[in-house]
């Protein structure tokens, strides 16, 4: 069975297993939807008091918010295997993955598709849909495609971040929480256009962890809006590639990590 077919097999098994606890799933998904929606509630409250955010309006922010929440929730659902990898290293269960004639990445990605994360996904989609409906210019096929690519490359970027987090478990299992600043913190900061932040902050999240490339720049093009930072059109269309590049780099770092693990023993 080739890798893709095997991945779908893993996914089916994982989802079936989770659906056995149906009530728990529904409650948790609903709870998560409400909990994450409180963030947008807070944003709405701020806008109703302040009116605007350095020239940005609430529907525009809603697009940032919706896109990043959709991207993150998909990545979060797919990457639980890597998220829990610290425990796997500690218990020595990673050895078993190395004993199977398949790539470790495939086995970890296939480990679980956490369906209760659909809570955050749902509220993200709702907010995004509202944002699209509130657009002045509306979506063309081109910009719709760009939005989709932006979200997909956001999934790639967050997946890359979790893979980097898992790789660091080969060296230090206790401080994995460091990465939460970039994953959950990354979601928080990407809900707003990056132009509102200080310049050193912007630079880091454009060139090192390219969150701006998967949200800010492409969404500027989707909104057909002038960039207060002064970027031009084609950059905004190409920027999402950075997310995919980030994932590829993360996978290489993972390989290095596995090699280190095999040289030093557990």
């Amino acid at each position: 069975m080739n890798d893709i077919a095997l991945y779908f097999r893993y996914t089916k098994i994982s989802i079936k297993g989770q659906l056995e606890y149906r009530t728990s799933f529904v409650l948790q998904a609903a709870g998560q939807a409400i909990l994450t929606a409180t963030e947008f509630l807070g944003i709405w409250a701020m806008f109703s008091r302040f009116g605007q955010l350095r020239g940005w309006t609430l529907p525009e922010i809603a697009m940032f918010y919706g896109a990043i929440n959709v991207a993150f929730s998909i990545a979060d659902a797919l990457s639980r295997g890597f998220d829990q990898f610290g425990n796997m290293v500690k218990s020595g269960d990673f050895d078993r993955l190395l004993l199977r004639p398949r790539s470790t990445v495939l086995q970890l990605i296939g480990q679980e598709v956490t369906i209760r994360k659909v809570g955050r996904l749902l509220q993200g989609i709702i907010v995004l849909a509202w944002a699209i409906s509130a657009m002045h210019v509306g979506l063309s096929t081109g910009t719709a495609g760009l939005l989709l690519i932006a979200i997909l490359s956001g999934v790639c970027l967050f997946t890359g971040l979790v893979i980097l987090q898992a790789t660091s478990a080969f060296w230090a299992t206790e401080s994995l929480e460091v990465w939460n600043a970039f994953t959950y913190g990354g979601v928080l900061m990407s809900q707003y256009p990056i132009s509102i932040y200080r310049s050193w902050f912007r630079r880091f999240f454009t060139y090192v962890i390219p969150l701006a490339c998967v949200t800010y720049y492409p969404i500027l093009a989707v909104l057909n809006r002038m960039d207060p930072l002064g970027s031009v059109g084609w950059i905004q269309w190409v920027a999402p590639m950075a997310g995919i590049l980030f994932l590829l780099i993360a996978l290489q770092v993972w390989k290095i990590g596995v090699q280190h693990y095999r040289s030093t023993g557990s």
Binding site: M1, I13, R96, L98, R100, P101
Partner: protein, 334 residues
Amino acid sequence: MPPQIIVEDLVKTYRIAQRDTGLLGSVRGLVRRQYRELGALDGVSFNIDAGELVGYIGPNGAGKSTTVKTLSGILVPDSGRCEVRGRVPWRQRVEHVAEIGVVFGQRTQLWWDLPVIESFELLRDIYRVPQERYKAASDELIALLDLGPLLDVPVRQLSLGQRMRCDLAAALIHQPPVLFLDEPTIGLDATSKLAVRDFVRGLCRDRGVTVILTTHDMDDIEALCDRVIVIASGKVLCDGSLDALRARVSRQRWLTVDLASVDIEVSDPDATVVRREGQRVCLGFDPQAVSPAELIARVTAKHAVSDLFVENPPIETIVARLYEAESGVATATT
């Protein structure tokens, strides 16, 4: 025919980070990490031909699991040569692991929440076994290990003995020519142990599977292995048949008696008291000097004995004796 498994001069040293205690120590630890070295393998060499059933024994920390990990391709040694079926395990991991099976006694490879049969089917897909071969192999394994009633049971509900039999089958779904068993009978009841032993013996004898068995259980070794490799402190001390090992170290066997009361002095011209715990006394004797039956007769005639059994000295004793014998020879030649 070149040997199926070639191991030559394997060396592996672990560097373990020192954890300082106390607040000051951990601050120091943040700045500069201190490492201590733990030698695991110190020039291990042996060859194994296809179809052999080899016992790999030694005290804890001897280097047994390090060797097995290296042979499986999980661990990269510091130096030395290793080939399994013509491949270097850690260099061609995917091709290599497709041809080996590994069973860890203390950890299952089955999926915890899934019925056993679904674990088997998933492994079939992971190892890319064609359906007809899978059907034949799994039918046979299920019959041999009596897994029929267990197939629909989730693994988490199995007893230890049932799980071990399922793990054995799982490791063989893809019909590997080489099988590593790491403590497969640990914690099992007597019936399960026998079932596992019978199965492994059949594998080797009828199907020509090469088996390397790592264990602390001397009864496993005696029941199964013609050849035994003893490792201690990262070095191979002895490599040959079990009898040769015993003969080399000592033919001694132990007669353990439970006395009716504590204060009885037990002695015999052909036996030495090896151990004494309250009412239990272990007498070491040479079976060639006095037969077990005769010794039993003599001891029970002289003392009131409530229970007795005859056993081999534990592997630790044999290995310890091996050490003494080795260093004895060494000092004699210097």
